[in-house]
């Protein structure tokens, strides 16, 4: 057993439908500018005057910044409390509304799907629905993540393999 994750919740301890409130983060002007300079140097994320003239009507964070800040909330509130073993990716990421300077975003994670890995009996895969809203309760981003989680009992996984022929996962996780 992995000594780092031994005391954490494992795959068998998770339940479909379980929702975790991940808390919130305020997105300041400084955060927007510093993230944009590093990862998304477009005028409407970097320059208040240009942002006012753009479709967004003011300084807005990069959609990728909203995703990265949500990832941090997910790490602190969920992934670091379970025996997470790496991400497999995500699907259906939708940016629904821009996050403007001074907005506070808050996120919830819902366990949407649980299945054993077909190729790796030591792991299960958890599908997590992330929902992010602003301080007015408006949805700003949604997505479905897939993450590996260590299983307590690899033997169960070997048996489960027989009844889960649809599992096409191939990745090794990041």
């Amino acid at each position: 057993m992995n000594p780092i994750t031994a005391d954490r919740r494992h795959f068998e301890d998770l339940v479909v439908g379980e929702t975790v409130n991940l808390g919130s983060v305020k997105v300041t002007r400084e955060m927007i500018l510093s993230f944009a300079r590093e990862f998304d140097p477009l005028p409407f994320h970097l320059d208040e005057a240009a942002a006012k003239r753009s479709l967004l009507g003011g300084l807005a964070s990069s959609g990728w910044q909203t995703a990265a800040l949500t990832l941090r909330l997910l790490g602190d509130g969920f992934l670091n409390r379970i025996a997470a073993a790496g991400g497999l990716g995500f699907s259906d990421l939708k940016w629904k509304k821009p996050v403007m300077k001074g907005d506070t975003i808050w996120a919830t994670a819902t366990v949407a799907e649980l299945r054993r890995s077909r190729h790796h009996p030591q792991w299960g895969i958890v599908g997590i629905d992330l929902a992010v809203r602003n301080q007015r309760g408006q949805p700003v981003m949604t997505m479905r993540l897939a993450n590996l989680v260590e299983a307590r009992d690899p033997e169960t996984g070997m048996q489960a393999q027989v009844v889960q022929p649809y599992d096409v996962e191939q990745g090794g996780g990041q």
């Binding site: 479709l55 790490g75 991400g87 497999l88 995500f90 030591q122 990041q174």
Partner: protein, 185 residues
């Protein structure tokens, strides 16, 4: 894209360049955005199935996005130098799929490639088209790091707004009417 919707060619690979991930930047990104032990703690990471520190998948994706912004900027400059007017791109509505295929370790070099795999005029935003993009990241051993399917907007060059639509759009500028019309769309 820096090309007009009409000029976007399908399945033509557009190289975005490469990036070498150092251990210092992998750890710094992990501490800020993805503090799982295999992204932030080399000693603990050696106990994981990775056998050492690996970059957060999101880190590799954000660097890929940065490479794309820079490459499209350079393409815009190139087009202007040729005396052409570059196209206009809009904000992205989202990502359909992102598959993390193999981890990135300190010292790995990742090469990024963008390919437009499909396009169609937008149904909801007149004058704009939707681009369906693939972004593939490959390491120095030729292994896929991630494969992404992204959606983007690109402006139509030859679009002429129908008169009825132009009138409707002008009406949305009237505050009360705009609100009512906005609720319909």
């Amino acid at each position: 894209m820096t090309r007009w919707f009409e000029d976007v060619t399908i399945d033509e690979p557009f190289p975005l360049g490469s990036h070498t991930f150092t251990e210092a930047e992998i750890l710094a990104f992990g501490r800020e955005y993805d503090p799982q032990y295999f992204h932030v703690d080399p000693a603990a990471a050696s106990q994981s199935h990775f056998g050492g520190v690996v970059a957060s998948g999101w880190h590799t994706v954000l660097v890929g996005h940065r490479k794309m912004v820079d490459a499209l900027d350079a393409e815009e400059v190139r087009l202007r130098d040729l005396g052409q007017e570059p196209g206009v791109s809009g904000p992205s509505p989202g990502v359909n799929r992102m598959e993390f295929k193999s981890p990135v370790r300190p010292g790995d070099t990742v090469t990024y490639m963008l390919t437009v795999t499909g396009k169609r005029p937008s149904n909801s935003i007149p004058g704009w088209g939707l681009l369906f993009n693939s972004l593939d990241a490959v390491n120095q051993r030729g292994e896929t790091v991630y494969h992404a399917e992204l959606v983007g907007f690109s402006k139509l060059r030859d679009f002429k707004m129908p008169r009825r639509l132009a009138m409707l759009q002008a009406l949305t500028k009237v505050p009360v009417l705009g609100k009512l019309l906005g609720q319909r769309s």
